[in-house]
């Protein structure tokens, strides 16, 4: 294997693959990056066995071949190299030489055969989705996944494919985010429910330009996403996703419409005094005024007020302020519409006056108020 590549192209490829390389692993080859020189250029790949990323970058290949090299060391070297063409050549199965300007490196690697093969996903049966639509769904929902190991199913984002739309749902059992967009994809399986780890979705959000068409295909227990130059593979999470539709309230009859930024500012002010553990704040809705209050033993108390449009009976309800603030960050409009039924029932948050095609809904369960 022998090729010459620009320092920028090498860095670009390494950055794309870096996120899939595990920082700690018991299998040494996983800390390595697979470098394959082909007639088209070079392909860099990394995997932590849950996800795999592979990307092609332009290079001047003199001799084809493949080897694996410690990813972290190669990235560190690439970062410090002078702005000159980088010449990389294998010397034997387990070592490369790297020359750039007057710098010279010899790096030990591992034979390419030790690198795990990618999951078998047949792109012959693939369907196509506009990358930007997928990214919109991902960025509005994946924040809500659970990070706890006690219920693995909630560690994934539910991706529902339907004939007219596709939808993503994520929840940690206390709050939930759901978004759907009309389908402009082609060849999609009519109906399919996939539970995808958010780490893989994050790569999809990061690696593909918004206007690119992605090819998506499903293997036995894996999903593959591919553009002309880059591919992401991920393991799917198995098991039935909880019936989220059942917990979405249909009869919330108290409705408030608030300015998003003013609401977030007030919540941030109240959070200063809220308990570090529960972030408990009290919201009291009464005609045109939303009153905030917080009391924390040993610390103090605070109140604030915000004019709102409110219809329904007066309501006192408690929330974890952090949950509300997080959702407000993703609401795409200036005004937010909140609905409630009772102090111990789920509240909903939706964008008010959203002109884009699609539906976005977030749920939060309240915190009990202690008097």
């Amino acid at each position: 294997m022998r090729f010459t590549i620009s320092r920028e192209k090498l860095q670009e490829g390494l950055t794309a693959v870096a996120a899939s390389i595990p920082t700690k692993t018991t299998l040494p080859v996983l800390s390595n990056i697979l470098v394959e020189a082909t007639e088209k250029g070079i392909r860099l790949s990394g995997t932590d066995l849950d996800i795999a990323v592979s990307t092609e970058v332009a290079a001047d290949v003199e001799q084809v071949g493949a080897i694996t090299i410690p990813a972290k060391k190669l990235s560190e070297i690439a970062r410090e190299l002078p702005p000159s063409p980088v010449k990389i050549a294998s010397s034997g199965e387990q070592r490369i030489t790297l020359d750039c300007g007057r710098s010279h490196f010899k790096i030990n690697g591992l034979p390419k055969d030790e690198f795990p093969s990618f999951p078998s996903v047949k792109f012959a049966d693939s369907w196509r989705v506009k990358s930007g639509e997928l990214q919109k769904l991902i960025s509005h929902t994946s924040f809500a996944v659970s990070t706890e190991e006690s219920r693995p199913i909630l560690n994934g984002v539910l991706w529902e494919l339907r004939p007219e739309f596709m939808r993503m749902v994520a929840t940690n059992g206390h709050r939930l985010a759901k978004m759907e967009v009309p389908v402009s994809s082609s060849g999609a399986p009519q109906t399919s429910d996939l539970i995808v780890p958010p780490k893989a979705l994050e790569q999809i959000r990061r690696l593909f330009p918004a206007d690119e068409e992605l090819e998506i295909a499903r293997g036995e227990n894996h999903l593959g996403f591919r553009s002309p130059f880059t591919a992401v593979y991920t393991r799917l999470i198995e098991g039935p996703y909880p019936n989220y539709d059942q917990v979405i309230p249909k009869d919330n009859d108290r409705v408030a419409i608030c300015d998003k930024i003013a609401l977030a500012s007030a919540l941030k002010r109240m959070s200063v005094i809220a308990s570090d553990q529960t972030h408990r704040i009290r919201l009291s809705f009464n005609s045109a005024i939303l009153r905030f209050s917080v009391q924390t033993p040993d610390l103090g108390e605070a109140t604030d007020e915000l004019p709102v449009k409110y219809t329904g009976d007066p309501l006192d309800i408690g929330f974890n302020a952090a949950y509300l603030l997080e959702i407000l960050r993703y609401i795409p409009t200036d005004e937010v519409r909140l609905t409630f039924k009772a102090p111990e029932r789920a509240a909903t948050l939706e964008p008010e006056g959203w002109s884009e095609p699609g539906k976005y809904l977030c749920l939060v369960m309240p915190l009990r108020l202690v008097d």
Binding site: E149, L176, V247, Q277, R368
Partner: protein
């Protein structure tokens, strides 16, 4: 006060002398009170361990933590009595109360050991020495409770802990019940000790240090911090360098947060049948959940530990989505875990325990969950919490036996006779 002068800290450790033995004698002056050779921890037939042994018995080699059967082989004349639990708790509170009159900062390190911080009390005690104040405290405890304590003192909790061993009056020494290491002489005091005496230097660390030629504190002192770090690694090297000089800045914390709560039961006779174990489990789950609520806490992780007749110990645990505190949910999860453990190995068991970790304040259980109705029995509902609160109120009025779980009723007598049970509250993070 001149800010440049560092005022040495004034820390004491009060350790009740042969606490369980003393209390056992106090509650039964005509029985245990007359026995010089006394072991507290269970009856001769039971299979518990020695909780405490009288000084006379210790001469035969009897030590705390030893199985009672072995203690009796060493000292066949000894009389064994069970731990008078209620009295021990009451007396422990009594000592704590007296100590609280001397300093607001009292930390219970265990049922019979308390750290006190007397910093800033110099003027209050007419600038007398820390040793003089310690004698005052000792006299007050004996007067108020009838129990004696030994008190060690110094500039850190570590030094106070090591000093208390020199304070205990024994036949062969002239100790007065108080031993205070004056500020500045910590290194000299520690230099006389073995490394094994320093808390946290366990058998494995001792072995490692011995292989480097270090057995006494004096063996470590010549090495610089850098040398120790090179030999033992950065963290442990620095830790040891500080400890052998008596440096330890741990504060006396009156309300150290519990990291774990557990209840265990060693059975008088091995229990072989699932029903018998299920019954014990119900009782343990109920007791530990009551402890949990008593501390104002909720827990997310439930662990069941079983020790089989051949001393093989196995455990299973489960972490829930939300913190719980009700008897029903803790019992339901514990039962699933026990079923799993029994399915893997169904042999007679000698010990069972239920432990709760991932603790948070009650408020942790205030966050309502979306999927309550769907997830089945291990999710705590508002009804569960209401029932738990009611149970607590009934027990407050009628005592801990005022209301018990159906599954925990009845068999306690036959299985529990002579059994050895423990309540534990752990403040160390693992």
């Amino acid at each position: 006060m001149n800010a440049d002068v560092i005022v040495p800290r004034r820390i004491l450790l009060a350790d009740a002398d042969a606490f369980f033995v003393a209390v056992a004698r106090m509650v039964d002056p005509d029985g245990a009170g007359r026995e010089p050779l006394l072991i507290v921890g269970g009856t001769a037939e039971s299979r518990g361990v020695v909780c405490s042994a009288s000084y006379e018995t210790r001469r035969y080699g009897v030590r705390s933590g030893m199985p009672i059967s072995r203690a009796l082989r060493l000292c066949p004349e000894a009389v064994c009595v069970p731990v008078p639990r209620r009295a021990c708790t009451d007396m422990s509170h009594g000592i704590r109360e007296t100590l609280g009159k001397f300093s607001p900062l009292v930390e219970a390190a265990s049922i019979d050991e308390w750290y006190m911080d007397l910093g800033g009390t110099e003027v209050l005690y007419d600038n007398e020495t820390l040793a003089e104040t310690a004698h005052l405290i000792r006299t007050a405890v004996i007067r108020d409770t009838g129990l004696s304590v030994s008190i060690g003192g110094g500039t850190s909790k570590l030094v106070a802990k090591l000093a208390v061993e020199h304070a205990k009056p024994k036949a062969h020494n002239s100790a007065t019940g108080v031993f205070v290491v004056p500020p500045g002489s910590e290194a000299g005091f520690l230099a006389t000790l073995e490394l094994a005496e320093i808390p946290m230097i366990g058998p494995r660390f001792q072995e490692r240090l011995a292989s480097l030629g270090m057995k006494q504190v004096a063996d470590v002192l010549p090495h610089s911090a850098a040398e120790l770090m090179r030999m033992l690694g950065e963290r442990e090297g620095e830790w040891l360098w500080e400890r052998v000089r008596g440096i330890h800045d741990g504060a006396v914390e009156p309300h150290a947060d519990a990291k774990s709560l557990s209840r265990d039961e060693t059975f008088a006779v091995d229990i072989a049948d699932d029903a018998g174990l299920a019954h014990e489990l119900a009782s343990l789950a109920q007791r530990v959940s009551s402890d949990l609520r008593g501390e104002g806490l909720a827990a997310r992780t439930i662990t069941v530990r079983i020790r089989d007749h051949d001393f093989r110990t196995r455990s299973a645990s489960r972490t829930l989505d939300a913190a719980v505190m009700s008897d029903r949910v803790i019992h339901a999860v514990a039962r699933q875990l026990l079923t799993k453990l029994r399915a893997a190995r169904r042999v007679p068991a000698r010990l069972l325990s239920v432990a709760l970790t991932s603790l948070s304040s009650h408020a942790g259980a205030d966050q309502l969950a979306l999927f309550e109705a769907q997830a089945g029995r291990e999710v705590e509902t508002e009804k569960d919490r209401a029932v738990a609160r009611t149970i607590d109120r009934v027990r407050e009025k009628f005592g801990s036996e005022g209301i018990v779980m159906g599954g925990a009723l009845g068999r306690t007598e036959e299985n529990g006779k002579g059994a050895d049970s423990h309540r534990r509250r752990g403040t160390q993070s693992s």
